[in-house]
Symmetry: C2
Subunit: 96 residues, 2 copies
DNA sequence: TGAATATATGAGCAATTGTTCATATATTAA
DNA sequence: TTAATATATGAACAATTGCTCATATATTCA
């Protein structure tokens, strides 16, 4: 298959976004619906700062989207590509 | 969604395997069928050493498989999860 | 306005990563 | 056996990454 260097880099960046256990766990939580930064941090046992740093990267790669309400920010998965990549990956890990 | 820490780590490792442009280009080449280390290296403009190092990681994650024939080793994609992850990722990068 | 709360961000540091270079192993041919 | 070829591997180094800590911004409430 032919692939421009740019597309290769973009693809690598996309998968990079999913290449850390903390980010995977953030995404797993968001599979259940939108959550605030604090409740993500509480649920994951991470600091809000660490979660916020990770969410920034996920946002930049359009894996999550933010909705502001008052002083909270609720995050959710951006589109269904994300959960499809997630479950396809889980498939690969579980079977063969 | 609930996810054990082990599964989170395994998923992250899987996506890590796809998180580098060189590895993405190796996989793109292998979408066309099996290739030797040398022809991969030639086609990608990488040294055989660099390609071999990367193939080792891909092999360990069961993304590629090796078939030895004489003094050459031919690599191919391990199963269809790989190309499905690849094309799903490409989808995400191209649209939305 | 000022205090409290929720999130974001920059600097800095330890840990990880991808490559090169040198060398090792394995196979074939002479 | 020796030389040549194909691949693999270990060490080392620069570059990147994910966290903590301190601080900044934004919003609500008194």
């Amino acid at each position: 298959m032919k692939l421009t260097e740019l597309k290769a880099i973009q693809l690598a960046e996309l998968f990079s976004s999913l290449s850390d256990a903390s980010r995977i766990r953030i995404i797993a939580q968001l599979m259940g619906g939108e959550m605030s930064v604090r409740s993500l941090a509480d649920g994951l046992g991470m600091t809000e700062s660490a979660v916020s740093h990770q969410l920034r990267g996920l946002r930049q790669m359009h894996l999550v989207r933010a909705r502001k309400s008052g002083r909270q920010v609720f995050y959710s998965l951006d589109d269904d590509h994300v959960s499809r990549l997630f479950t396809l990956g889980l498939d690969h890990v579980q079977h063969g």
